[in-house]
């Protein structure tokens, strides 16, 4: 069974597309710096934990 696909490509405005391409390195760099900042990650994710803290912080690992 083949992967589902569209028959022809979707139109996107050139300028908008190129801006998205140009944003890749800045986003990579940003997420890398965030991952290096243990204090920030702990603060954002632990402060958000309420009630059953262990369960709640574990959920933050996931994209649900």
């Amino acid at each position: 069974m083949h992967a589902p696909f569209a028959l022809t490509p979707v139109p996107f405005p050139r300028q908008a597309f190129e801006r998205a391409l140009d944003a890749a390195e800045p986003f990579n760099s940003m997420i890398d710096m965030v991952s290096q900042d243990a204090g920030y990650l702990t603060e954002v994710l632990e402060n958000a934990a309420q009630e059953d803290a262990a369960f709640t912080v574990r959920r933050f690992l996931f994209k649900v």
């Binding site: 992967a3 979707v10 405005p13 998205a20 944003a23 390195e25 933050f60």
Partner: protein
């Protein structure tokens, strides 16, 4: 989070190799013709290989249907996602340097989308002579061993890179064993794609926090980088301090006047449903308890009719499309060795469907045609 904190204390002193294959997903906001970010993925960003193949397929179809080559060159951008992602994986293996030259792909036990993964394995072998072994978290829990020098061995092989195509959803961790597997990988000197820290950095809560004033700026290389990223953000307003937060209260007023341009979401996962239109207006006018909600700009993509081929059947369906831009970043210790974009992916789904996943059968793979 517990693993993150435990392993940070115990990790090997030699330089950690961290690889991330990101995919930043956008939708075109029709009223302003700008790409607005839907989310930034830092784990198991898939379809990189099938995306390259679909781009090639579309070029072939247009070519056969008579579109002149010069038009094709102008309209169809290159899509290097397969090669770029493979190169990223190979670089991480090479940085690790073990003679076994093996990448361990961490997979789900009943993986349905293995063809996209198999292309990676094939390219890694033919271009770089890198072997791939596929193991589930349970396999790793039961058979992986951490050596004295910090290397990770499983079934007689030393692992240079652990590449996660599993581990991003709670169902991947049904027991304590799977968590132990994740821990042993994290503690080893194998390169990880991604590390736990990188996976946490991609979580929804962090992404919401990054959008707050000053936070993106704190984590940017430059002001121009920060500004570039901010132009991609859809408006996002916390509603817990409306008396003092003029921007948020202006947004609320605008949402009441123009409800189609906004959506009201619960602050926490599982905190309820999104509210649109009149339901949203009614809730905003109630005023109490708004701190549990966030107001977001609604991205309004242009709908278009697409011929979708699914299970061998063609159907014309009104759809909207999401553009993903892949990126590769490789870090060793305190040095960033690679940082570049790595191709693109388009997923097109029926306008009426609420699920966006291609693997779940609701969306199709697509590619980009540029319009000037």
């Amino acid at each position: 989070m517990r693993i993150y904190k435990d392993t940070r204390q115990q990790k090997q002193p030699q330089e950690e190799i961290s690889l991330v294959i990101t995919r930043s997903d956008y939708m075109l906001h029709d009223p302003t013709s700008t790409m607005l970010q839907v989310e930034l993925n830092t784990i198991a960003s898939s379809f990189g290989c099938l995306s390259t193949l679909v781009s090639q397929l579309h070029r072939y179809i247009l070519d056969k249907s008579g579109v002149p080559e010069s038009d094709l060159d102008k309209k169809l951008p290159q899509n290097t996602s397969m090669d770029s992602i493979v190169q990223g994986l190979a670089s991480a293996v090479q940085e690790h340097g073990h003679q076994d030259k093996t990448m361990m792909m961490v997979v789900q036990p009943d993986e349905q989308n293995s063809f996209d993964q198999q292309w990676l394995q094939l390219q890694l072998w033919t271009t770089y002579r890198i072997r791939t072994i596929r193991r589930t978290l349970l396999d790793i829990a039961e058979r992986a061993v951490l050596q004295e020098d910090g290397s990770l061995m499983i079934d007689g092989t030393t692992v240079s890179l652990a590449y996660f195509r599993a581990g991003y959803t709670p169902t991947d961790y049904p027991s304590r064993k799977e968590w132990d597997a994740r821990t042993i990988i994290e503690m080893s000197n194998a390169a990880k794609c991604p590390t736990i820290a990188m996976q946490l950095a991609g979580s929804k809560k962090v992404q919401q926090d990054l959008a707050r004033p000053g936070v993106v700026e704190k984590f940017s290389r430059s002001n121009s980088d920060a500004a570039r990223m901010r132009t991609c953000f859809a408006g996002l307003w916390g509603l817990d301090d409306l008396e003092n937060d003029t921007e948020a209260s202006n947004a609320v007023q605008d949402a009441i006047k123009n409800p189609d341009l906004y959506v009201l979401k619960p602050q926490r996962e599982g905190g309820g449903n999104n509210l649109y239109g009149q339901d949203m207006v009614d809730r905003l006018q109630q005023k109490q308890g708004l701190g549990a909600l966030i107001l977001m700009q609604r991205i309004i993509p242009p709908p278009h009719t697409v011929t979708m081929i699914r299970r061998g059947v063609a159907e014309d369906i009104e759809s909207l499309s999401e553009l993903g831009i892949y990126g590769v970043l490789l870090r060793k210790g305190s040095n960033v060795l690679l940082n570049h974009r790595a191709g693109q992916l388009v997923r097109t789904k029926a306008s009426t469907s609420s699920e966006g996943g291609v693997a779940a059968g609701y969306a199709v793979l697509d590619s980009v045609q540029l319009v000037d």
